[in-house]
Amino acid sequence: MKHIISALVENKPGVLAHVAGMFAARAFNIDSLVVGRTEDPALSRMTIVVVGDDRVVEQVRKQLARIVPVVKVQDFVGQPVVARDLMLIAISAPPDKRPEVLSLIEMFKGKVVDIGQKFVMVEVSGPEEKIEAFINVCKPYGIKSVARTGTIAMPRHAKADVRAVQTPEAQTGQ
């Protein structure tokens, strides 16, 4: 099962190496790991997507919490969260195919950020499934390159309300 783990860490040198080293040493698999600044300059947030059974993920969570500069660890599984990936993708779009490609981009609410003679570069963000779906529909045209950020996530604040309303997004955790 896929778990999104969010770790608030001290913004110090060596913390990323420590976290990455722990994952390697304990043979945990990382799907993606994103580090970025937070509202507090002393803290960074690491969002780590891990696939494993409950026991493995519980160990991941505990081993992370054990690292001294790791301040707080949350596993978002079972919680309503907003989870997003950002992707830049260069798609082959010769003039004859360009209208088709542009309409696909439109359907996925992507944004054209660069355009050349043969390729368009598109920025797409959203839940991982949407990103994957966009890649799939672009494949027939030819993909030159892809750069993805990996998942970042934040729990929904109005948890109780969201549960009560039971929006499809809340149910799927997106």
């Binding site: 860490v9 080293g21 001294v68």
Partner: protein, 576 residues
């Protein structure tokens, strides 16, 4: 932990101008350090200059690894934090085995390493190594200090982290320019550790659930690890075991936490543990694990470990709980506090049938060896050591058969009496550990029960013992083999003794060359006399016991087997 409950950084003093090196020494003294181990070198010269006339006893090993083991054993014997210093590059690299040893056995050690000048870092400078990078997996925490203003605080944090929670080694890397930079300091900087929390008190509800389970249990077993010793909870353990009437088995590192002469003691469990301890665990209905981590050498095949038992696990490290074995009642916190609470909450139960069963196993499967053999049996040497020292010596060990025989045949009666590399299994640990323990406990009898090949690895540290007039005793159980490797080769590799023996020197001559007393014991009849003589020595003394060459350690749970599938029980029974 909230900052208010944390000890603040020393008394506020008047601001004074100090160099980084002076700040290091002052902070060490403030932390109560009166003894250090370490080796000098280029980038630690400013620090060693400050140590020249500091009120700190300094022991220089012959190799940094030895120094790190000494600091580790000093900590294990005294309960204080051990401190070791090394220079950059090779010095720091040589600490790695020692740090990993301390890490695996949760020993509070603070290592200070020199580093090349800040502006040279990353340039492959002379004697540069990425010390924090290399030691990160083998320390509880490490960091590099690049600003002299952070130095005092970082060293305080290092001591605090090393000694609290589940203890462990902490390394602070200090570039030489930081050590010489002057800084205006009033000496009072608060620790900043937002990510470090120590849970001392156990959850009250969990404790009462555990107490209820103990009261209801008909066949309980206490399984005790080194955590009880590092938490100084021996007293509380005794009270609990006596009040509730519980049999107690310990891990290798837990030996000494419970007096092995007491009837409730089941001695050590595990791969080479007592058969009666292993049977008790496999038949118990409640296993109460305290400060232990369900190591594979303890559990055997983990799927069939304690198959009928509900498991209570008391540990200060939440990550140790349900790591290897599913735990029914976890209690996170300090063993001393929790065992104390638990002792109050439990009731006495006779458990007559259970103790009768255990007594039968104990009688049938006691540790035994052939006492009528004409050769010197290694077990006999250990037994005789135990008899002559009245179970009161501090024992350090090498790793392998010597270590297992020390654990099986010496009866430990109090905490901090056995000092052995359990988790990492570091050959060569015994001699430097004896040095560190003797420095910590100058009046104690300190004996290194060692193997010949373990001793080979660090024997130069004998010179350190001589230099500091430390009357350590080294008993080499010399069988000419890497005994445990040879045992496995005999049992599992058709007696193909591949690279498991070396040509040994004459250890008595080596001892004398290094300034110690040396003796060779070749006859069984000479063993008691030799031990008597050794115990009287006021100088370091090495006794080379030429023991039975192909003796095996029994019983043995072969790798991958359940705890109750022991080999060698027939051998034990034949010796009754």
């Amino acid at each position: 932990m909230k900052s208010k409950s944390r000890p603040s950084g020393g008394p506020t003093r008047k601001p004074t101008i100090k160099t980084g090196a002076q700040i290091i020494v002052d902070t060490l003294i403030e932390q109560g350090v009166d003894t250090m181990f370490g080796y000098t070198g280029g980038v630690v010269l400013p620090l060693f200059d400050r140590l020249y006339d500091a009120p700190i006893r300094f022991v220089v090993p012959r190799h940094e690894q030895g120094g790190c083991h000494m600091a580790d054993a000093y900590a294990r014997a005294s309960g204080k934090v051990g401190v070791v210093v090394a220079t950059s590059g090779p010095g720091a690299c040589n600490l790695v085995t020692g740090l990993a040893t301390a890490m695996m056995d949760s020993v509070p050690v603070v290592a200070l390493t020199g580093q090349v000048r800040t502006e040279l870092i990353g340039n492959d400078a002379f004697q540069e190594a990425d010390t924090t990078g290399i030691t990160r997996p083998v320390t509880k925490y490490n960091c590099i200090v690049k600003d002299v203003k952070d130095l005092a605080r970082t060293i305080r944090e290092a001591f605090y982290i090393a000694s609290t929670g589940r203890p462990g080694p902490v390394l602070v890397d200090i570039p030489v320019d930081v050590a010489v930079t002057k800084c205006n300091t009033d000496g009072s900087t608060e620790m900043k550790l937002p990510g470090y929390r120590v849970r001392a008190k156990g959850h009250a509800k969990q404790i009462s659930t555990a107490a209820k389970a103990i009261n209801e249990s008909k066949q309980p077993v206490l399984y005790v690890g080194g955590g009880v010793i590092s938490a100084n909870a021996g007293e509380q353990l005794r009270t609990l075991a006596e009040k509730a009437h519980l049999p107690v088995t310990t891990t290798l590192l837990g030996l000494g936490s419970y007096d092995q002469r007491k009837p409730e003691s089941l001695d050590m469990l595990g791969m080479h543990g007592a058969a009666y301890a292993n049977y008790a665990v496999q038949h118990c209905d409640l296993l109460i694990a305290v400060g232990a981590r369900f190591d594979d050498r303890v559990t055997g095949k983990v799927e069939t470990f304690a198959p009928n038992a509900k498991i209570i696990h008391i540990d200060v490290d939440p990550a140790s709980i349900s790591k290897n074995v599913h735990v029914d009642i976890p209690v996170v916190g300090d063993a001393k506090v929790i065992l104390g609470e638990l002792a109050k909450a439990v009731e006495h139960r006779e458990r007559k049938r259970w103790f009768t069963k255990i007594a039968e196993w104990k009688k049938k499967f006691a540790f035994r060896y052939d006492q009528n053999a004409s050769t010197i049996k290694p077990q006999y040497v250990v037994e005789e050591l135990c008899r002559q020292t009245k179970s009161e010596a501090i024992i350090t060990t090498g790793v392998g058969q010597n270590q297992m025989w020390a654990a099986q045949f010496y009866k430990f009666i109090k905490p901090r009496q056995l000092i052995s590399s359990g988790g990492l299994g570091t050959m060569g640990y015994g001699l430097p550990a004896a040095v560190g323990a003797q420095v910590a406990k100058p009046d104690a009898t300190v004996i290194d029960i060692d193997g010949d090949h373990s001793f080979n690895m660090t024997m130069t540290e004998l010179a350190t013992a001589v230099e500091h007039h430390l009357p350590i005793k080294v008993c080499i159980l010399n069988n000419g083999y890497m005994g445990m490797v040879r045992q496995w080769q005999e049992l599992f590799y058709g007696k193909r003794y591949s690279k498991s023996y070396l040509s040994n020197p004459d250890y008595a001559v080596v001892a004398r060359a290094l300034g110690a007393v040396g003796m060779t014991v070749e006859k069984k009849a000479d063993v008691p006399k030799a031990i008597r003589k050794m115990l009287k020595e006021t100088q370091p003394c090495v006794a080379d016991f030429r023991v039975e060459r192909e003796e095996n350690v029994w019983p043995m749970v072969p790798a991958g087997k359940s705890l109750d599938e022991m080999s060698g029980l027939d051998i034990l029974e034949r010796l009754i």
